[in-house]
């Protein structure tokens, strides 16, 4: 057999001949004799020969051909196999040339020649026929491709390749990996390689080697590794272990225990993460309520609808900025704040200011407003749910290891909730408005006597609370669909958060939101989502009996009615 380098040279030579001929072909304009010459010349190339066989072969013959192709030291092989795997490998019906169809175009397919790598042009859909694949072939293709990618320049590609190969290790692959391990520069790839080799070693005969391998395996949490270890602990029909080596058995048991402990721990971290992300949504939707409820004694049942308005603002902004799918959200946040805040101020000036000192009446009036807002939105945007797309930088997930991956949008929501909370705290503690708000909430008439225009403060406070509801709506639009009932589904929850945390206490709201979120997620696996929610509600009802004013009640005179 010819060695790799000269084969490559040969290929290049043939390639140039072929290219020249293609050129002639275009000028000669489809002369019958020309086509024949091309076929005659090209068929002498091993790569082309295999491609042609692949085109004509029956499905069950194809695996052998793919294997042969994989052994060719040819740069074109990877692209062909990938195209075959993706179902993009076609051949033209008229001259039976194997082509890769690149993309759909107006006329049909835009195609490239496999052998020459040149763009041929566009052909109609009926003029090309797909080269068939089935699942068996796909499996083989994947492993062949992984082998080819072991020598890729990008470390990510190599990592993926090794991972794919480690799914079914055999001696030949073991050699492949062992050869490359010392030369590998990337630490991650090295780790995965040694894991893959360890999977092989564990099945061997040498006890020392096997124990070392188990030690390596114990560092990883993926299911593949766990299966390998579980295989070692397989029992016979009579209950005795299939494995006779005591030391290996013991080591494998220990390793599995260690892995299980870690998996459990990471599971806990994941639950905590889910809980915190749910908690930040709850806290975000409740903070605004805590302000209006705590500071002004107003029970704003339209709070959920102000969140809905914020979510719809996000939707509208996205529709207005179709070319900025990644940055529209940065515009949407202030826009939603402003829209909801203005609406809130209107509600305060129009209705609520007539009802101060009658908290139960504000509850009814704002509930009426919530119905009107819902119906307005339903009339403008239709009752159908709208979906707001997530910016690309917010989708995807942060993979910590094989059992723990944190989705980015949840991570961003936690961060977002904390930022909003921090800003609000700053406003209340560091600004003039905040000072006035606190003064009015503690003693309205004394604040008035000191020259604070309490009506203005009321309107601004209500606007602030409503604006935060709008911002919470932006966050919600990234989690669920936006619909007229969006607010309603959160209103009971957010009231629970405020009541549980203690009215008029922002820290209490944050802590209660987070703890309710975590408690919900901890209960969910045991009780199911609905029952978990019921249990939480009942727990809060009982909790209120013990501490009627929440976790962190307001102290002093202001606390008395």
């Amino acid at each position: 057999m010819v060695n790799g380098k000269s084969q490559l040279l040969l290929n290049r030579a043939w390639l140039s001949v072929f290219l020249m001929l293609i050129g002639c072909l275009l000028t000669i304009a489809q002369a019958q004799s020309g086509t024949n010459t091309v076929e005659a010349v090209v068929s002498q190339d091993a790569f082309t020969e295999l491609i042609h066989q692949l085109r004509d072969a029956k499905l069950r013959k194809k695996p052998a051909l793919v294997k042969q192709l994989g052994e060719l030291q040819d740069t074109r092989v990877e692209a062909v196999l990938q195209a075959l795997l993706d179902g993009r490998l076609y051949y033209t019906k008229d001259d039976r040339r194997a082509v890769v169809f690149k993309e759909n175009s107006e006329k049909g397919y835009r195609i490239t020649d496999v052998v020459s790598g040149t763009l041929i042009g566009e052909i109609g859909k009926r003029q090309a026929k797909k080269i068939g694949v089935n699942n068996t072939l796909r499996r083989i293709l994947r492993s062949k491709l992984a082998e080819l990618k072991l020598d890729s320049d990008a470390s990510e590609e190599r990592l993926k390749a090794v991972k794919a190969l480690s799914q079914k290790m055999d001696a030949r692959l073991g050699h492949l990996l062992r050869d490359r391990l010392p030369g590998e520069e990337d630490d991650d790839v090295r780790a995965v390689m040694s894991l893959a080799i360890a999977i092989l070693d564990v099945r061997g005969q040498d006890t020392g080697l096997r124990l070392d391998a188990i030690e390596i395996l114990a560092t990883d949490l993926s299911s593949n590794i766990r299966n390998t270890l579980n295989d070692l602990l397989r029992t016979n029909a009579d209950g005795s272990f299939a494995e006779t080596d005591k030391a290996v058995l013991e080591a494998a048991t220990d390793a599995l225990k260690k892995i299980d402990r870690q998996v459990w721990l990471y599971g806990l971290v994941e639950t905590l993460f889910f809980g915190l992300s749910l908690g930040s949504v709850l806290a975000l939707s409740a903070i605004g309520l805590a302000i209006t409820f705590g500071v002004m004694g107003v029970i704003n049942m339209a709070h959920g609808e102000l969140m809905m308005v914020g979510a719809y603002t996000t939707y509208v902004i996205q529709q207005l900025m179709p070319n900025y799918q990644d940055s529209f959200i940065l515009v949407a946040i202030p826009a939603a704040f402003l829209v909801s805040a203005l609406l809130g101020i209107c509600i305060e000036r129009g209705v609520i200011r007539f009802l101060y000192g009658r908290p139960l009446e504000t509850l009814l009036a704002t509930f009426g407003i919530s119905l009107i807002l819902q119906q307005t939105v339903r009339s403008i945007f239709s009752p159908l749910n709208r979906s707001v797309s997530t910016p690309s930088w917010m989708s995807g997930s942060l993979e910590i290891n094989s059992v723990l991956s944190l989705t980015l949008n949840r991570l961003y929501i936690i961060a977002f909730a904390l930022i909003v909370f921090g800003l609000l705290l700053m406003v209340l503690k560091k600004t003039r408005l905040g000072l006035q708000v606190r003064a009015v909430s503690q003693n309205r008439s004394m604040a008035k006597a000191m020259g604070i225009r309490s009506e203005r403060v009321d309107a601004l406070t209500f606007g602030l609370g409503s604006g935060i509801a709008g911002v919470a709506g932006v966050a919600l639009s990234q989690l669920t669909n936006v619909g007229p009932n969006l607010g309603q589904s959160y209103i009971v929850d957010s009231f629970m958060v405020v009541v549980f945390g203690g009215v008029g206490n922002l820290w209490g709201t944050l802590i209660s939101g987070m703890s309710l979120g975590v408690a919900n997620k901890i209960l969910e696996p045991f009780a199911g989502a609905v029952l978990a929610k019921i249990l939480i509600l009942v727990a809060i009802i009982l909790f209120i009996q013990i501490r009627p004013r929440g976790l962190f009640p307001q102290k002093g005179r202001a606390a008395e009615d």
């Binding site: 029970i299 509850l363 009814l364 009231f495 019921i534 009802i541 209120i544 009996q545 013990i546």
Partner: protein, 363 residues
């Protein structure tokens, strides 16, 4: 007469009383005796519709008793109504017997559908009418007792109470939506056949239930009027206006509140039990917090703290709802929402406040 003595100083009550008496006599005649071609003929649809309003009025009356007279804003009265309705529904389900779609002699259809083999223990006894009627009152009052005892003992008042009653009905709604609870899940209980051996679809049965609803409403009205006129009622009023002072005088405030709350829950439950055979279905949607809040608006629109105002409000709001949801469904929520806003801002005493002579004196 005892009842007229009670209503001597209660013009609104007298009007309601006469109207109910007239309805109880005229409706059966107009529906059963008058021929269909006559202008005085009342269709069965109308009878059922008005019968439904009557049960709503009873529910509103129950809420007015606790909210208008005791200052307890319950946003969860729909829960007691629905529980009463479910108890009645369970009796009616058991009456179906072998006539269900699956023809199982004991298990209701939905249980056969869910592959249940045995009747859950809490369905036992509901084939007996007396037992079911006992449960109609007992289950909701027990819930009200436990809930009220806990809440009033630890002095949960005002807004907090309103919100936890809302949480209560919300939690019950979620629970009844679960199939595993054994109450028919999402679909609830429906497809009833007969009650005490009478066909539930027949005009005669409907008219009887209608008359019973009139009687129940009138009796409940008298009972409520009796309570608010009694010494207990005076204490309850005192609690509404100054809870702490009443406590300092020496009254056990929580006991009065609990008593009135439990009684009100029983009225709501009876309303629910009368509601179910007339509309023919009960499902978890009845527990929705929105429903309970709507009841509050009936009372607020009519005028709270008057008893007859609640009844008038229930009829008025529901009648306009029937009209509007039929002709202009998208306008209904606007109207309902505006009713909430306008009645709280401009009509703190409700519509009856417009007509009452002593309206000014109270303020």
């Amino acid at each position: 007469m005892f009842s007229m003595g009670l209503l001597k100083n209660d013009l609104g009550g007298r009007i309601i009383f006469y109207l109910l008496a007239a309805a109880a006599i005229l409706v059966p005649v107009c529906n059963l005796v008058v021929p269909e071609t006559s202008v005085f003929y009342l269709s069965s649809y109308t009878v059922t519709l008005v019968g439904k309003y009557l049960t709503y009025a009873l529910l509103a009356l129950a809420l007015d008793l606790v909210w208008g007279y005791c200052g307890i804003l319950s946003l969860g009265h729909g829960a007691f109504f629905a529980l009463g309705g479910y108890s009645m529904g369970m009796y009616l389900m058991r009456q179906i017997g072998e006539r269900g779609v699956y023809g199982h002699p004991i298990l209701p259809d939905f249980m056969v559908f869910l592959n249940w083999k045995e009747l859950p223990w809490y369905w036992y006894g509901f084939d007996q009418f007396w037992f079911a009627m006992l449960m109609v009152v007992l289950v909701p009052t027990l819930l009200a007792f436990v809930f009220g005892w806990l809440a009033f003992r630890s002095r949960v008042t005002g807004v907090y109470l309103a919100i936890i009653t809302q949480a209560l009905t919300y939690a019950l709604m979620l629970a009844f939506f679960l199939n595993e609870m054994g109450f028919g899940g999402n679909n609830g209980l429906t497809d009833f056949k007969d009650i005490l051996g009478f066909n539930i679809q027949s005009d005669a049965t409907r008219v009887v239930i209608f008359v019973l609803s009139c009687v129940a409403l009138a009796a409940a009205y008298l009972a409520c009027r009796y309570i608010v006129e009694s010494k207990l009622g005076r204490v309850v009023l005192a609690i509404r206006d100054a809870e702490d002072r009443t406590r300092f005088i020496g009254y056990r405030v929580e006991r009065f509140k609990l008593w009135i709350f439990v009684f009100s829950a029983a009225l709501a439950a009876i309303a629910g039990a009368l509601y179910v055979p007339q509309v023919g279905i009960i499902n978890p949607g009845e527990f929705a917090p929105l429903n309970s809040i709507e009841v509050v608006i009936w009372v607020a629109v009519g005028g709270r703290g008057t008893l007859y105002g609640a009844i008038a409000g229930a009829f008025l709001v529901n009648y306009s709802k029937t009209l509007l949801t039929g002709s202009l469904p998208e306008v209904w929520l606007f109207v309902l929402g505006s009713m909430f806003v306008l009645s709280t801002v401009f009509l703190p005493k409700g519509l009856v406040g417009l007509f009452s002579k002593d309206g000014k004196e109270d303020e």
